[in-house]
Amino acid sequence: MIAVRDHLDQLGDVLPIVVTFTDDVSRLGAYRNHLDIGFPVLADVDRALYRLLGAGRGSIRRVWSPGTIAMYARLLRHGRRLRPPTEDTRQLGADAVVDRDGRLHRLWLPASPDARPDIVELIEAMAELD
């Protein structure tokens, strides 16, 4: 998320959208302010978009893989304050690029939390739209 925020100038006129499934929408604004991001942070309370894109739940072993633990350790070292999650920690995320016509152009479904595409992959996918 921070990488997207910090590379907006390389992403053209894309509108980034962060989606989570919290049922407490009041947390969305705090999260947006905490990360200092100007784009929308939205709630998909019933996880309809997660299902639509095929983002499932991972096993505990995959979700808490050594890579995931290392990822959180990196965030802490860089000053991120992490709160214990109150939601389903086994829900996996996804990343998607949608073209100007509203069609899904690229979709990443990482098998574990630490396998998300890096910012370079996202920039390249956005460039494919030009």
Binding site: D13, P16, A43, V45, L49, Q91, D95, V98, L107
Partner: protein, 45 residues
């Protein structure tokens, strides 16, 4: 399209019920003409 359908690359992205921190609905269809980068979070940490 039923709630159980899964879409893939090349498919149109339908609107789903998304809301912002004020409870305002967000529709993908309102942003046609502009590319979107959607990041599905695991959870808020």
């Amino acid at each position: 399209m039923t709630p159980h359908d899964v879409i893939g690359e090349g498919d149109p992205l339908p609107d789903v019920a998304l809301v912002d921190q004020k409870g305002t609905q967000f529709r993908f269809s309102d942003h046609r003409g502009r590319p979107l980068l959607i990041v599905l979070h695991r959870h808020l940490a």
